[in-house]
Symmetry: C2
């Protein structure tokens, strides 16, 4: 359950920053505008990609087209102070291990959590949505660097598995499907997992956790059969997970 | 380069224990018989799967059909002593994080490394092939548990990326391909990566690293274009990686 003090939270957790045939964040523009109502300047965390300069340039250009000014933390002399004074926070996608290690090395986790719990708008995409969860344990990325802990921001009390891909019945590949990998997570862990398909996002606002976007989501809980929920569902009401 | 003292090593590193349309380990039976020449009893490490009992039963039955007796470490009162006295070692596939954590928690890494460097035959499959590498950093598994370190057995001096899957040009999915994930590894790490397709294995013997099986392998090195190598290639001769 979301706790009462969570009603201040204002989050948009996106599965995928670019869907097939569209431009960067195009499919989420109206959701982004909704989260950022009243905001002008946004702190951007580009740490999930190796080339932070070009990532920041791409994100800055995209947000400028929506009328927002983005300030990338990697150019700040004091990233924690940038977060402390940010009007909103956006964590972009890439490699989740690299991202979480940077947030730990820069001592940003507590500051981000405290700001978001106080109502600072937060957008995460892909790896940025995973680090909003209690741990990074539902990433599909390669563990290319070792963070000191798998513990992440814990802005929600469930795990997201973004880029959720349904099994391909015609495949002859023998590697595990995403559903089988989530099954391994549930063998070892208690928290529910939201399989978030690429066109989808979760919107956390006024204590609700709403599924937004064009696809249903698949909810996995230990010892239960997975269930499908439709866009518009409030996961705090219609499932037991949030 | 393999070092001179590595000439004792006798390894079979399999991409995938079951290929489409065949039974468990069927496609590798002749390779397994070759590695295990003169061996009767094999220590089996089932830690990559949650249900160790049924995993051990499946592997025991399969090796019994080839004339070998398998002893599963999870039933041993002292797994390090089982490894110490084993005639050969087989590490099965599953979740690489779970596997490596168990090897660390049971203090098995040093013992396995020392036995294999002394010539004890070693078979790894999938996750079992990854832990034969210096680290688990090229796994595609979910990090469902946290090992204390990403360092693994270092039986070879390169990384394997098993179940290697070529990009699907018709896919509209926007998640990273395996090649892109390996690119992220090479942004952060120096060691070469062998993308090992499902029908393939590497055979380390007499200081050579031979590609076995029905598929070519794809070799990734930092700052170079990936190259394809054919079955029969000795990676210590025809590439600079091993």
């Amino acid at each position: 359950m979301l706790k009462p003090e969570d009603s201040a939270k204002n989050l948009l957790l996106i599965s995928c920053s670019t869907i097939h045939g569209r431009g960067y964040l195009d499919h989420m523009e109206s959701n982004i505008r909704d989260v950022l109502r009243g905001v002008q300047r946004i702190a951007f965390l580009p740490y999930a990609l190796y080339d932070r300069d070009s990532y920041a340039a791409k994100a800055e250009e995209r947000f400028m087209r929506m009328g927002f000014a983005l300030e990338s933390a990697h150019r700040s002399p004091a990233p924690p102070r940038l977060i402390e004074s940010a009007e909103a926070i956006f964590i972009g996608g890439g490699n989740t291990f690299r991202l979480l290690k940077a947030l730990q090395d820069l001592n940003l986790l507590e500051m981000i959590r405290s700001r978001v719990e106080g109502g600072c708008p937060f957008i995460g995409s892909s790896a940025g949505s995973i680090v909003a969860c209690p741990t990074l344990k539902t990433t599909k990325d390669m563990p290319v660097v070792q963070p000191r802990s798998f513990d992440a921001l814990r802005l929600v009390n469930f795990q997201i598995s973004p880029h959720y891909l349904d099994p391909d019945p015609s495949s002859t590949h023998m590697g595990e499907t995403q559903e089988e990998r989530i099954g391994q997570y549930l063998e070892e862990n208690e928290l529910a997992v939201v399989g978030l398909r690429e066109a989808s996002a979760l919107r956390v606002r006024h204590g609700a956790v709403l599924l937004h976007g064009a696809a249903s989501a698949r909810i996995f809980q230990r010892g239960k059969k997975p269930i499908e929920v439709l866009p518009g569902t409030d996961l705090t009401v219609d499932t037991a997970i949030a």
